[in-house]
Amino acid sequence: MTERGTTAPDPAPLLRAVQVGRHFGGVAAVDGVSIEVRVGEIHAVIGTNGAGKSTLINLLSGEIAPSAGQVFFAGHDVTRWPQPRRARAGLGRSYQRTTIFPEFSVVENCRLAAQARTPRPWRFWQRAAADRPSLEAAARALTAAGLGAEAGQRAGTLSHGAQRQLEIAMCLANAPLALLLDEPLAGMGGEETERMLDLLGALKDDHAILLVEHDMDAVFRVADRITVMVNGQVIASDVPDRIRADPLVREAYLGEPEVLP
């Protein structure tokens, strides 16, 4: 597990799962998985359909509770923390199926997300549309995600790719420390994919990013570390070059030999 020396100084992992598992009935969707994500790195999780990648993200984000193991985030044992509390602590996530507020404006999508961390939310006499802290966070996030020009549009009218970008912007509006991204490139065209990869590369500098993705070209381009899951278990975790050469991984993908670039 300790593959030191590949990148110079190895900071303590911001997000760490230790032997987490989740059983649905008798089926182990995730079984004894340990994973670490650091600031400054994109840690990709790949695996065939049903390997447990999305369940792993749900366990890390707190959407479902683990049946075994522990999750640590930013120095806290967050295993028993519900999702909203983890989110407020700086754990943002995107979903495989685009999860935005289609009927609100693009900026309101981000402003609402940012509002989760603004103080004194019970002040009902203050108008949300005049809430400076959340508006400023929304504007910054939209600019960072490259959606500044679309701020006034209705979110549901954006292109698919722009909606995926908006979902990232909504995460950023919350000033997260770590991002859990579930197939952010799904359904994207070539140009949209490039833009998203540029964005991920820019975000990596001060975020810890866990990326679940099916687009292998993209994964091997941007990932600093890759974890391979099969049937709920980790079969390999290493830098991309060694993952590419790993016989176990080759075997797991044998049915789809052209998948690994």
Binding site: F104, S105, E108, Q115, A128, A129, D131, A139, R140, A151
Partner: protein, 342 residues
């Protein structure tokens, strides 16, 4: 901080964007004119008409309270009459034989209704969708049967309110709700206050969070909102406002009975919202007026003859037609007409 990199460069200009989180259309002129007209009505209308407007106004407050749940937060409750009834019962039981002061009977009605809403909401909000509908119904039926089958509130016959609430201060009587006109303006004032309170609330961060929960609760939780607490707060506020309506209803009718808490009442207030148009405060008020007027019409022997005995049937058919023709309610009709005008 992690967001430092994001502060660089010009931020998108979001100063003057249309706020489309809220769907309320139109300005303040029409509601203000309506309030003025209703305030002047006692000059020209018979006591029967006054009573009708009073009933509409009380039910409008009740419908507004449910609109916060159904329209704003997307929580369809089929037990909202429990809070109306509890507020009304609290008023009558608190008055006793010698009457009481508005200054403590109104808070009593509100707090009692809010307390039951806290209890019922804390448990029912653990469920979703159709289960939530059934659990809220169960909680209201529980309250109904307690009042119906025990002697806490006079059993199935209910109890009379012998002396209406008054507000006395420094030796002067400021409000005597036994006086019809005083009651009229008190109810009208309460309606305006409820409406203004809810429109401010829906424009606030709390209101926007409720809208977010209605549209996509999963995303709200991912953003860090403890959505359960937001929904519970909405449920308690809605219960408290229904308690206000209950207080006014008891003062208006001078009696309470368990039917106030029945599921018919819960269904009726939902129908008011559907008639008026869910998702709009003025829709709730218009829906309450339409429902009370339609019911009055169909119950009137003089107008519909023998059909008056079957008013549920005619009212039901009318509502079916309304929903089929106006899926967005009467408020939707108004918007459609305005949209076609130049």
């Amino acid at each position: 901080m992690a967001s430092d990199a994001l502060t660089e460069g010009p931020a998108a200009d979001v100063g003057a964007l249309p706020d489309i989180a809220r769907r309320e259309a139109g300005g303040w002129r029409v509601p203000a004119a309506a309030v003025l007209a209703i305030a002047l009505l006692p000059l020209v209308v018979s006591p029967y008409g006054i009573d009708l407007v009073l009933r509409i106004a009380v039910y409008a407050i009740f419908a507004l309270s449910l609109e916060l749940l159904v329209g704003a937060a997307g929580l369809v409750s089929l037990g909202h009459a429990a809070f109306l009834g509890i507020g009304a019962y609290a008023t009558v039981l608190g008055s006793g034989d010698s009457g009481g002061s508005v200054a403590w009977l109104l808070p009593l009605a509100v707090i009692t209704a809010a307390a039951y809403a806290l209890f019922a909401g804390a448990l029912s909000l653990r469920t979703r969708g159709v289960y939530f509908i059934m659990v809220t119904l169960a909680f209201s039926q529980m309250a109904y049967f307690v009042l119906h089958d025990t002697q806490v509130g006079g059993g199935s016959d209910g109890i009379f309110l012998y002396v209406k609430p008054v507000l006395q201060f420094a030796g002067t009587t400021w409000l005597d709700l036994d006086d019809r006109l005083t009651l009229y303006y008190t109810v009208l004032g309460a309606l305006v206050a409820t409406y203004l309170f809810l429109s401010v609330l829906l424009d606030s961060r709390f209101g926007h969070a409720l809208a977010g929960i209605r549209v996509n609760e999963q995303r709200m939780r991912a953003a860090g909102f403890s959505t359960y607490l937001y929904k519970l707060a909405a449920f308690v506020i809605a219960g408290a406002l229904a308690g206000v309506a209950g207080f006014l209803l008891a003062a208006k009718d001078g009696a309470v009975n368990p039917e106030l808490l029945s599921w018919h009442e819960s269904g009726a207030v939902l129908l008011m919202l559907i008639l008026g148009g869910i998702g709009s405060l003025r829709g709730a008020v218009i829906g309450a007026a339409a429902f009370v007027l339609l019911k009055e019409l169909y119950q009137s022997q003089a107008i519909v003859g023998p059909l008056a005995d079957h008013w549920q049937m005619t009212l039901g058919l009318t509502i079916i037609v309304f929903v089929a023709v106006l899926p967005r309610g009467l408020i939707g009709l108004g918007q459609r007409l305005r949209g076609k005008a130049p």
